[in-house]
Amino acid sequence: MEKKILALLEQREGKIKKSSFETLALAEHLAVSLEMTVDAAVIGDKIENTSDVFSFCNCNLVHFTHADLQLYSSSAYKKIVVEYAAKQGYEIILLSNTSLGKDLAPRIAIGLNAGLVSDCTALDLNGKEIIVTRPVYAGKALQQVKLSSEVKIYSLRPNVFKAVLLEKKAEEKISTVAVENPDLTNRVKKIIRSEGKLDVAEADIIVSGGRGVKGPEHFTLIEELAQQLGAAVGASRAVVDAGWRPHEEQVGQTGKTVSPSLYIACGISGAIQHLAGMSSSKYIVAINKDKDAPIFTVADYGIAGDLFEILPVLTEEIKKLKS
């Protein structure tokens, strides 16, 4: 039988997410290297950008539709994927390790009696064998593993794998399957949005503040810089524990592990649990009074000075650059 890969895509508000394009590009790469074919699947009601799928991967796209499936339902999504994948006999299933992917992957692993490696940051081939690298201890160490199961599921850390475009867009092959009576025993009733806020887990640039910001009222300095950069606001554990900032902004071992293109740490000394969560960022800038602070050991560029003096000037310079 022909060996097949399933790329499981994710839509939010009717749009396939950027991280799903990263999944597709990796599926394309593996398919070429391992002489396999790719199917992609997405679950949701109406989806506007299905055509973009074929810019990243030569595949057949199956769109499972039902009006109640626009929002995530772990029970319904699991049932659809398990039944479809069992019938198609996929050997490899790829998905993004987003909040939805994290939730769904273990469920389908049990349903398909498959092995699962979550939060992969590299998939390397050793002959026909896939060797996976994933960060452990929030990035203080890296683990290499392989799956011994027949069906293998890999969930990929967003923002790590490149969404490489095909040289030439592939032919659009889309089929639609109307889902009957989805299993909604576990369902999302509604989504509460954090208005106008970019999430650190998804942001390309993060401006983070720590104890050095000296109080919640001074975070406007961080917010203004973030706004100029189109960045998310992050925070150290110390300021979250002090109640200055909400926990969803926390970067570090008991917060979020992030790998943006640019991470600007302001008034953050760089406790080991914080460094673990952000040191895989592509570029790191540190602004801190103490020139011996550990944050400077991971920073590409640093200013060892007073953030209250530096940040307004930096915000102004960025504004000039953008205009």
């Binding site: 369902r187 920073a299 960025i318």
Partner: protein, 248 residues
Amino acid sequence: MKIAVCVSHVPDTATRIKIAGDQKSIDPAGVSFVLNPYDEIAVEEALKTKEKFGGEVVVVSIGGDQVKETIRKSLAMGVDEGVHLKTDEALDSFAVAQALADEIKSSGCELVFMGKQSVDYDNGTVGQLTAELLGYNSIAVCVTFQLEGTTVTAEREIEGGKEVVETSLPCIITAQKGLNEPRYASLKGIMTAKKKVIQEKLLGAKPVRVENLLLKMPIAKNPGRILGSDSSAVAELVKLLHEEAKVI
């Protein structure tokens, strides 16, 4: 109602880690181990639920004798009894989930709390794996939890917001920071915990699906440049970010 809470024994997040001689695990020498921070939140939620609805809370942990310390800490916070599933083998998430599912099934607990992930291997899968093995409902990464009759409502954190999820018992809830503020063990709690029973059960061999090949340290970054000590360095910083790093 009988409530289970599953906890793991992990290196403190403030600890530096070193790779052991086998190149597959960490060297435990000099590392202080604690109750996994997310599991501590799960223990608190289990206790709050018991205080509201009555019943008892049992804590379950898997590992060598050292995990008794973490079980004891949960008992000191107010958990009623402990179960230690004893093994010296390194288990993968599937084997851990299978062992927890077997234990939860035999104990008949219909509500289970655990942390959203343990801060050692960071898989974040055991809650959902266990639930699926048991045929229980589950909601992961919860920042609120409500029980009314057999209806469970929880808010779970997603990118840029929260999903309000509804399901019913039997159910596994995995805890995210923000769900509650875990209590400190009182002196009385610590004294009482010494008298509470920890049941020890030997865990048989479990099949694993994930083969651990190697553990290594990430490549250390070269220290960067300190451009200055005041705002006069800002212009150069912006130039470097724009022209050299090309990130703005």
